[in-house]
């Protein structure tokens, strides 16, 4: 056993009291600062719930077809959506979708600039990488409860927790994608006198897009993986059904809602992947054409 050299209790009390002070002194400000996130999530959810169910199915099936140009994926999507509807999971699925979409959009807004800066500066990368490690590995309940106390219970902490967990892959893959762009190509653009901005937006980002899209795909998947945890702090949706199923030992309820999460994951994973592949082929083709 490691010897007890210092008494950790004062330290722990200091952390707890510190959190209490933040909650007392700054709770309102934090809550107000998070309002745009809540507005985004509520708008998406209201919009999706306002849309008729068949329109959502048509749009998703259409997206699947546009992405693959084959019949398999659209059929899978159709079956998955009808499963969700038949199992009376429609509203919960839509809530989960809204949470996932809001988290992914916010993650994109924050992750892309961070990834770009990381790709250009070794120092930033050295600072940000451990933070990303922390975000991905710190058990979510460790920061969930403080986040609830600071922001107030409800959808905001759930959304923040989902973003914290889901954003790192997008940052990493943006950074990676930009750094993997062929140096020869960059040299050529420089020779043609492109400004750094033109180089970034005209060459680097388009060439890195397939990798970035893979990051978006990972982010959606991780956001879906968080739905059960998120519903433990009041997010509702499919995760809530899973919790109820576990709590009451209703295996069926937990199983169906769990399968519902899988169905959503398959739909969004396959569709974003197919778009990524399409994009990659297009870039590949243009290279061949050169």
């Amino acid at each position: 056993m490691f010897p007890e050299i210092i008494d950790t209790r004062p330290l722990r009390r200091w952390v707890d009291d510190g959190l209490e002070w933040v909650v007392r002194a700054w709770g309102d400000e934090f809550e107000a600062a998070a309002q745009p996130l809540l507005f985004l999530l509520n708008s998406i959810q209201r919009f999706l719930l306002w849309l008729p169910w068949w329109l959502i199915i048509i749009v998703l099936v259409g997206l699947a077809y546009a992405a693959t140009r084959r019949a398999v994926l659209p059929i899978v999507v159709l079956i998955a959506m009808i499963f969700l509807g038949l199992m009376e999971l429609w509203e919960d699925s839509v809530k989960t979708m809204a949470l996932m979409i809001a988290a992914t959009l916010t993650a994109i807004v924050f992750s892309l600039p961070v990834g770009i800066v990381m790709a250009r500066s070794a120092i930033v990368r050295r600072i940000v990488t451990p933070i990303l490690d922390l975000m991905q590995t710190l058990p979510s309940f460790v920061y969930l409860i403080p986040v609830v106390m600071i922001f107030g219970p409800g959808k905001i902490p759930a959304l923040i927790a989902t973003i914290v967990y889901a954003a790192p892959p997008l940052v990493r893959l943006t950074d990676l994608g930009l750094r993997l762009v062929d140096p020869d190509v960059l040299e050529a653009t420089q020779a043609f006198g492109a400004t750094p901005r033109q180089r970034l937006f005209g060459v680097q980002i388009p060439l890195a897009l397939p990798t970035i899209l893979a990051g978006v795909n990972q982010t959606t998947m991780m956001a879906l993986a968080m739905v059960v945890i998120a519903s433990m702090i009041g997010a509702g949706g499919l995760g809530y059904q899973v919790l109820q199923g576990i709590g009451r030992l209703e295996v069926s309820r937990g199983l169906f809602a769990g399968l519902g999460i899988v169905a959503l994951a398959i739909i969004f994973d396959r569709v974003t992947q197919a778009f990524g592949k399409q994009l990659q082929e297009r870039i590949g083709l243009s290279e061949v054409g050169k």
């Binding site: 209790r9 009390r13 106390m149």
Partner: protein, 337 residues
Amino acid sequence: MTFKLGGFVAAIGLTAGLMVALPVAAQAAECGTDKTIDIAEMNWPSAAALAHIHAIILEKGFGCSVEIVAGDTVPTSASMLSKGVPALAPELWTGTIQDAWDKGVAEGTVSVAGVAISDGAVEGWWIPTYVAEANPGLKRVEDLPEYWELFKDADDPSQGRFYGCPPGWGCEIINTALFEAFELEDSFNLFSPGSGGNLDAAITRAFVREEPIAFYYWGPTSIMGKYAMTKLEMPAYDEAIHACNADPACEPKGKSAFPTPPVIKGVATWLLGEAPAIADYLKKSTLTNVEISRMLSWGDENKAGARETAENFIATEADLWSQWVPADAAEAIKASM
């Protein structure tokens, strides 16, 4: 009728089990059984501390081989009913599992070794005492609609927010029924906190900021010991109405306060048969609400875990627990500390 937290944590914990590795000291009284006595440590503070108290006394005082396993109301009782392990659940809220438990008692697989809390637990709908003092008109649940603006819901500001019970706990069904019976839908949202941890965090936030909050809670708990809260009055407990409220299929829902929830020490019957000394000890070892809250608030103030809280209890409350055990066992326990 509380069913407490985190089914999946418990399910993992049950199978994994936590070994309490302690050197066996000089034993005094006879344990009576060679089998390892598994004690379920539920994941809320009072039950966890009680589990460790029993573990220390059985191990040091009676020389039993004891193991602490993580548990939760439904999985632990299901395992006790089907397999006889864990042997002891020191604080079992049987309200949620009443039918299965009664059947097990009738069949003789499990038994009740006395109550866990001698003066009973409390359960109900609460508001902070500072809110009650500032609003003398808000005394009963029926008064809530009039005061909804105090408890405005951040996600939906057109209504108040009432913090209900986490999903899957037995109280969730009853709270939903009461919510309907008191016709609160038009003025309040029944907010599901999703987990016990989130409910605690929400309550703590409100009390720290001295904000109004209306919520469901139960005791003995450290939160109840820490913050001054006032119970909203409900019409008196009525067995038939309450039973209907607890059954999702039953209509119509009615107004009835929560009964004093049955909180017992559940044991697998084989333990009582094989170890009469332990059976006798279990019958005697009950604590009151005040004693448990005192123990828990010591743990809370000193940032102590369940084991430490139990050790402190053994060290400081010898007057209490030495009445539960034979004199030689008490000596052995004192010697081991």
